[in-house]
């Protein structure tokens, strides 16, 4: 059980049976008045954001959230299918739940899915993934000015800036947190 004074940015709490994440938080105290805890909360299922002011007597249950290791299988009509590696159970996430992770989802990629009770909420991909370049302009030899990059398209459809020597069909390593090119991978 949390009390209002435990609230902080990033804390996940349960209210009316739904999970919320605290996105902003401040302690205020008007004049001789009581301590108030002004918070912005985001509903982790609907994404709805709103402001709430709590008193020090207010209490909250922690949100019962669990990370599960799962494997990405396929996408069909905006639904992304993942499978539990142990139970073989399958779950579907919507496009908005998958968010930016869709740029890095390749078949059989091992990911972590955050569940609230039995509802999947969001997916986190590994920090580094290796992806194949499916479309690139050929390298004009001699065009080796340092710092220069060119856009290529990866197997997931993600467009990324890479050094000019990267060719179609090559594999590169990408940092999923920044979305940026790291290095060429030689099999």
């Amino acid at each position: 059980m949390y009390s209002a004074s435990d609230l902080k940015k990033g804390l996940r709490i349960k209210m009316d049976n739904e999970p919320y994440i605290v996105t902003e938080f401040n302690f205020v105290k008007p004049g001789k008045g009581q301590a108030l805890y002004r918070s912005k909360l985001r509903n982790m299922i609907t994404g709805a954001q709103f402001e709430r002011t709590f008193r020090s007597v207010d209490t909250f249950e922690p949100a019962d959230l669990q990370q599960k290791k799962m494997q990405y299988l396929y996408e069909e009509e905006g639904k992304y299918c993942f499978m539990d590696n142990e139970s073989y159970e399958q779950v579907f996430l919507t496009k908005s739940q998958v968010g930016g992770a869709k740029n890095f989802l390749i078949d059989n990629l091992e990911v972590e899915i955050l569940f609230f009770e039995d509802k999947p909420l969001e997916v986190s991909v590994p920090n580094f993934v290796e992806l194949v370049v499916v479309k690139a302009e050929p390298w004009a030899k001699g065009d080796s000015v340092s710092g220069k990059t060119k856009p290529v398209i990866l197997q997931t459809g993600y467009q990324i800036q890479v050094p000019p020597f990267i060719e179609e069909g090559e594999k590169i390593r990408v940092d999923t947190r920044s979305g940026e090119y790291l290095t060429r991978v030689k099999d």
């Binding site: 205020v28 105290k29 001789k32 008045g33 009581q34 002004r38």
Partner: protein, 307 residues
């Protein structure tokens, strides 16, 4: 991301603060106030519904120097001021620190109206010493210094800015929420604003108005949406102190807050506090205004997180 060493590099703010402190002392000495120092470690704090103290051994760190400054008043010092650290359990926010700097002054024979004038003079004099002749630039706004400053009753502030009246907010037990959610952010942007005459529930030691016993003679000063100072005509009757302390004790007990020993001095008939008024001004808050900072962290050397 700044590391903790870089976060100590704020020489402009620290110089402003130092100059402010000197200007405050100059002001009070020029007005015949005696600078005093009273103990920070005290056996019993002033009972307050919503202020928690930090225990220290079998004593407490004071939450304000009020109690011992009143004893000095009672002992015959008519005009006294103090700049000191105060300590309050659990108070940390963008404008709160659990250890902060307070300026308090007390004046025998004064009421809260007189302290409004002194407070205005003090801040204008500090502003001038920092080179702010006509305005203070704060968060993109120009706050005019020229007096007299705006002063409106709390009731009027509710009428102007809130969806409920002051009386209804008190009845519905939402006075603080309305203050924070609808009113405070509007106050003190054109010029500093005093709001005065609070419902009595707020303060343990403010005097009630003679003709309106549900209202206490208390004001707060706001600059740039920020509460800067709190003042009141002081309660002097021993019986009334007894009654208020009992109420605070019962209330704190009912909401599960620690109940502290009661300061005996205020309950002794032979140690009468003279008719007087007192005011507490948050030095760090005023430094935020003069340093144009929206958060308190930028105007103190160390925040608790950097220790």
């Amino acid at each position: 991301m700044l590391d903790s060493h870089d976060m100590l590099k704020k020489p402009d703010a620290l110089w402003t603060r130092a100059r402010m402190l000197r200007a405050m002392r100059d002001f009070f000495i020029g007005m015949d106030y005696l600078e005093v120092e009273t103990p920070n470690l005290i056996p019993a704090p002033i009972p307050e519904k919503y202020i928690d103290t930090i225990p220290c051994g079998n004593m407490f760190l004071h939450t304000s120097p009020e109690l011992y400054m009143k004893r000095l008043l009672a002992a015959g010092y008519p005009r006294i001021f103090q700049i000191c650290k105060c300590y309050r359990e659990g108070e940390r926010g963008s404008c709160h620190l659990p250890e902060f700097t307070m300026l308090e002054w007390y004046c025998r024979g004064a009421d809260y109206r007189l302290l409004m004038e002194e407070c205005e003079k003090l801040i204008i004099s500090v502003a001038h010493s920092l080179g702010n002749e006509e305005v203070i630039h704060y968060q993109g706004k120009k706050i005019k210094l020229q007096g007299p400053w705006e002063n409106i009753s709390v009731r009027e502030a509710f009428t102007r800015y809130a969806p409920v009246s002051m009386e209804d907010a008190v009845k519905k037990n939402s006075f603080d929420e309305v203050m924070v959610g609808y009113i405070e952010s509007h106050l003190g942007w054109e010029q500093p604003t005093f709001i005065y005459d609070y419902p009595v529930s707020g303060s343990a030691l403010a005097k009630a108005k003679k003709d309106e016993p549900a209202i206490e003679e208390r004001f707060e000063l706001y600059i740039g949406g920020q509460e800067i100072a709190n003042a009141c005509s002081e309660l002097i009757e021993t019986d009334e102190h007894h009654a208020r302390f009992k109420k605070v004790e019962e209330y704190r007990h009912s909401i599960g807050k620690p109940v502290y020993p009661v300061p005996r001095f205020l309950l002794q008939d032979n140690k009468v506090i003279p008719e007087s008024a007192g005011i507490a001004l948050g030095v760090d808050r005023l430094a935020m205004i003069f340093c144009n900072s929206p958060i308190i962290d930028n105007v103190v050397t160390f925040t608790p997180e950097l220790l």
